[in-house]
Symmetry: C2
Subunit: 324 residues, 2 copies
């Protein structure tokens, strides 16, 4: 176990091994090509932030790992499956310095790999024994794909506003964070007010997480991110910093020029990236992320002051400070 995980996940850090074990078991299939693809997709070990949120939320009630671990694992599988499909959708060839599944195999097999993982996630969540949590999980995937689809359908369109952006990231990212904390609380039998507080925490932290992601796409270190700066804009996706730039400089805006340019597009793109980095839109974006974390921490004020609650506070800070 990494030292950072112990610091980040405190009281549940040791139990995270059970999530790893269940993820490992999901790779054990008898179809060789599928096994190779699953090994690849689940190899790049992330921080498992979402499963940790399930366990932390569950600690505010009946901390039953037989129910919480399958939900945490299902959520991580769902998250990974959605990344697998996103990489097909975006035509991405690398993620965090590793080749994507669609780069190693092809789009056709990778679509099926993602489908299999979605199905496996759905099967995993039924192991919680809760039809309510299983239903929540399916609704979350509907929100995730709606948000993603809306974003992709609006590529290279400067007509969308910040409200639309917030709705979109609410679906594609925050919904799964909210599902993690709400689901954990429901499985632990928390009272409705605590369930609501934890759902609200998850949602707000998820919003902050995505905003920071979108900031890092402009300000981050290409080495750490494993992708070039400005990748979103290159694909036609305008995130919060770009939307703020359009709002402040509606005329003669380099994003508009990039989207409409017939030639010299790379130059236009670089101009847009430079302008985002030089103006204050990244600070303003970070301020919004900080507000979301503030709301998240406020929401859980009603919960008892446990080590888990302090952990959730710490995770809010971590989300703001992360560099990749």
């Amino acid at each position: 176990m990494q030292a950072t995980m112990v610091n980040l996940y405190g009281p549940v850090a040791e139990d995270m091994i059970l999530v790893e074990d269940l993820l490992e078991s999901a790779k054990q299939v008898e179809i060789p090509p599928l096994k190779r693809m699953l090994d690849h997709a689940l190899e790049g070990r992330g921080k498992r932030l979402r499963p940790a949120l399930v366990l932390l939320a569950g600690s505010f009630g009946d901390y039953n790992l037989n129910r919480l671990v399958p939900l945490g694992t299902a959520i991580e599988l769902l998250h990974t499956a959605s990344l697998v499909h996103d990489d097909v959708v975006d035509g991405a060839t690398s993620r965090r310095g590793r080749p994507t599944a669609n780069a190693v195999w092809d789009n056709a097999l990778t679509v099926l790999l993602g489908d299999y993982m979605f199905a496996n996630a759905a099967e995993m969540v039924t192991r919680t024994g809760s039809i309510e949590v299983t239903r929540l999980f399916a609704l979350t995937l509907m929100k995730m794909t709606s948000g993603e689809l809306d974003q992709d359908a609006a590529a290279f369109d400067v007509g969308k506003d910040i409200q639309n952006y917030l709705w979109r990231i609410g679906g594609k990212t925050a919904a799964l964070f909210a599902n993690a904390t709400e689901g954990g609380a429901l499985l632990a039998g928390c009272d409705p007010a605590s369930v609501d507080a934890l759902r609200s925490y998850g949602y707000s932290v998820g919003m902050a997480f995505q905003i920071v992601d979108d900031i890092l796409d402009y300000s981050g270190d290409e080495e750490l991110l494993g992708k070039p700066v400005g990748s979103d804009l290159r694909e036609g996706t305008i995130t919060l910093p770009g939307l703020l730039l359009l709002e402040r400089y509606p005329r003669d805006n380099p994003i508009k020029k990039f989207f409409t340019a017939r030639r010299g597009r790379e130059e236009r793109l670089q101009e847009a990236i430079a302008m985002v980095r030089e103006t204050d839109v990244l600070q303003t974006s970070m301020e919004m992320a900080r507000q979301y974390v503030g709301r998240a921490c406020e929401a859980i004020e009603i919960l008892p002051d446990t080590e888990a609650r302090r952990c959730l506070h710490g995770l809010g800070e971590y989300v703001l400070e992360r560099q990749s």
Copy 2:
């Protein structure tokens, strides 16, 4: 309601409108691009064979439409979602004479459309209130994608045998038929022997259905099918007729030549199609399909002799006789 449906689905034909209504409600989303895509994907009204099987199976117990209709709808959504992704995977531009979603939009949006529909199907099945049936549903999708993935990973490979073919179509097609009848029986609270009989019926009819599909790909009317004869082989998929041809004529086989040819591939393909059509492999394949239908009808001998059972017998015949 079409006259054929009344004949085919007998006692449950009228209730099928409830499945249509629920499918219709699934199209009502507030995201315009998603709405357009759902309208397109769910427009081509098929025969709704799988939902009918759910209702027919459910008629052998407590025929509760509040539980059976959501399962039937979920299964039709899952079936349609898998066709949407299959068309992306195969690069198909038309299906039954209509352009595919990936032909109208693009692969990226179509992958997300399919994901949304899978999620909606998963949500729909939770409305049955049964965690057992929800779990069965997720396991079915795992089998379906495993079968499809195995098939695609083995494209242009002559090393697979009939046993592998049967396993593969068991996953990609028969599993969903079996889910329809088993799920319907479980929701209706049938006794274990009846559940087993109905599951077995669904599985065998599904096997026959796919074998006939694979026969029609060689023998069918291109107009009725809405695709050229020999489409599977062109994509590198060897189905039962081709496998029988390879078994009988291991040397100098035109399929092998087609797969390895560097030039004159179209000519080789046409030779292979002609040889399949001229030898007895299509009759032998049909004989196997007939055996599966025989097994299906045998399995339900233990059930009471109701109109629904006679319908299931009739559906077995229909599966063998269909021309498209």
